[in-house]
Amino acid sequence: QAQDGEPFRVAVVMPSTVNDLAFSQSMYDALAAIQEERGEENFEFVYSENMFIVDDAATALRDYASEGYDLVIAHGSQYGASLAELAPDFPDTAFAWGTDINTYTDEGITNIFAYEARSEEGGFVQGVMGAMLSESGVIGIVGPIEAGDAKLYVDGYKAGVLYTNPDAEVIVNYIQSFSDLALAAAAAEAMLESDADVLTGTAQMVPGAIGQAQEVGALWFGTQSSQTSLAPEIVVANQVYDWTVVLEPIFENMANGVMGGEAYALTLENGGLVIDFNPDLELPEEVMAAAEEAIDAIVSGELVLVVDETGAGITVEEGEPMAEATEEAE
């Protein structure tokens, strides 16, 4: 990276604000951490936030590229198409985008990295815990729209619950909104009144749901970043993203002149996904044990989460301990 004193310059375009407690913030935090570690003189980064309008994002990406940043990150799966259109115009710039696995190499593009978060893994682990912690055997999940990172997490969580307790009832409600807290609250309330005693959810509107859970003391699992601060007394654990895990190898590749073509993933195995337990909440031994077990099983490959191609969800299979994806990230 930082050759001849020149700082390594990164620009990132994000769909929501850097303080969204979720997808965008997780990337911002990662970059901040790297800067912390390497020092401002070696590592600069700038961000363009709230770029929910895709053509504005495209403009921003093109602008960053033409301003000669070393790496330009398009942090949103809706940016892929625009990125693929402009990347060829800037062969000396490396691009990264996610969450997706498509590096557009089969379109002859060589300077795009792709990254994704296997959030179904953490979802699965938390689902296992949820199933054990629920007394009513009813568990509620509040989602935005059924797609992308949210879908992976929800499917994973559901799989985890049913894997642990096949008779459990899992209520999934995609409320079709990323921002309507009141609606999220009402959805959660409906679940709670249908005897759910464990809830989880993903995207920016979940604080609405957390509030409802808090009122009746139902348990909550968070994802994307820690929501413990919102409700210390009910948050069991959060699946936290650590994007440094994909950023570091990208930097290395670039140092070796590789400008793209690689796809990375946050996994439990590579530490990109971290189950962050709430220290203030006492958990039964067997629950902790089950959680550790599930993590090990997924890491070692004893358990393989198979994504159904029809989008129907995730099924669990016993696999033999070792997987290719594991190796290369080493």
Binding site: T17, I175, A182, E189, A190, E193, G211
Partner: protein, 310 residues
């Protein structure tokens, strides 16, 4: 499957969460209704809601006092309302756009202030649920109507109050006259500007309260753009109610209850595409109007600035 919806818990759940969802609409719509009755169309409701939501949240977070929170919200709402009044009444600006300007201002400013004052999302201890003695004991009714937080009760109390003010007081008469024929009102010695300043400021305060009813009562958190377009629905509901408090109440309840219903439908695993379920409240609001026999009496001077001698 549908059968699952026809048990007490579900119906009570739908009704009571319908009432909760209706609360912010009631505040905002009643406020907007006053403005429109006097001839001022304020499309900035959403922005005012967000400012109110933040101010109330911030105050309660720092002082722990709900009273102060409400007062702060009322004050910021009054300021936003005054601003709108200056623009649309004194400066006679095209009301449609000035409203959009106010909206964007509130949308951005609330977020900006939030980022400046909080490093992470936190909750506050908001208005607790008040179970009205005796009344809340009544089976079903009690659970549906008498187990809410204070701001919910206030919102519903506003409806008859607004009706009374509009139809039974001299002030209400002035408001109606100014909205229908400002020239005439002017020649009767009424200050059109003063009346409109009053209604628009009041509208701002109520819109602000709508935000507060979310941030320090229903949800107890603040987040950028947390109102998610409710301010615009509130404006639409004024038209639904054809400028009458009762009509607004019906509209707010219809919209919110259907919304609660569609959430329950999916909670009960009845599988219709989530997207279509979400459409329901919007679709039904329109359909209701199609079949309702309506007495439309739109204020004739709505969104028309008044200047004497024209």
């Amino acid at each position: 499957m549908i059968g699952d919806l026809l048990n007490a818990t579900v119906l009570i759940g739908i009704a009571s969460s319908g009432i909760q969802l209706a609360t912010p609409y009631l505040y905002a719509s009643i406020g907007e209704m006053f403005g429109q009755r006097s001839g001022v169309l304020n499309l900035g409701v959403e922005g005012m809601m967000l400012m109110g939501a933040f101010t109330a949240f911030y105050t309660v977070h720092n002082t722990g006092s709900l009273v102060l929170g409400v007062l702060a919200a009322l004050m910021i709402g009054a300021l936003m309302g005054l601003a709108m009044a200056v623009i649309s009444v004194t400066l006679q600006a095209e009301q449609g756009i000035s409203g959009i300007g106010i909206y964007l201002f509130g949308l951005g400013m609330s977020d900006l202030l939030f980022q400046k004052s909080f490093s992470q999302i936190v909750t506050v201890r908001g208005f607790p649920t008040i179970r009205i003695p005796l009344l809340s004991e009544i089976p079903v009714i009690g659970e549906v109507f008498f187990e809410h937080n204070l701001l919910v009760y206030v919102a519903f109390a506003l409806v008859p109050l607004a009706w009374f003010v509009l139809n039974k007081t001299t002030l209400g008469l002035k408001i109606r006259a100014v909205g229908q024929n400002p020239q005439a009102a002017d020649t009767m010695g009424i200050s059109v500007a003063r009346v409109r300043y009053f209604t628009v400021t009041l509208g701002g305060m109520l819109a602000s309260m709508a935000g507060a009813s979310l941030s320090i009562a229903l949800l107890n958190v603040f987040q950028q753009n947390m109102t998610a377009g409710q301010g615009f629905i509130a404006v639409a509901l004024v038209y639904f109610g054809s400028w009458r408090p009762g009509g607004v109440l019906i509209g707010a309840l219809l919209f919110s209850t259907v919304n609660a219903l569609q959430l329950w439908v999916r909670t009960k695993g009845i599988d219709i595409p989530a997207e279509y379920a979400s459409m329901a409240p919007y679709l039904l609001t329109i359909l209701a109007l199609v079949f309702a026999s309506k007495r439309v009496d739109q204020p004739a001077a709505l969104s028309k600035p008044f200047e004497r001698g024209d």
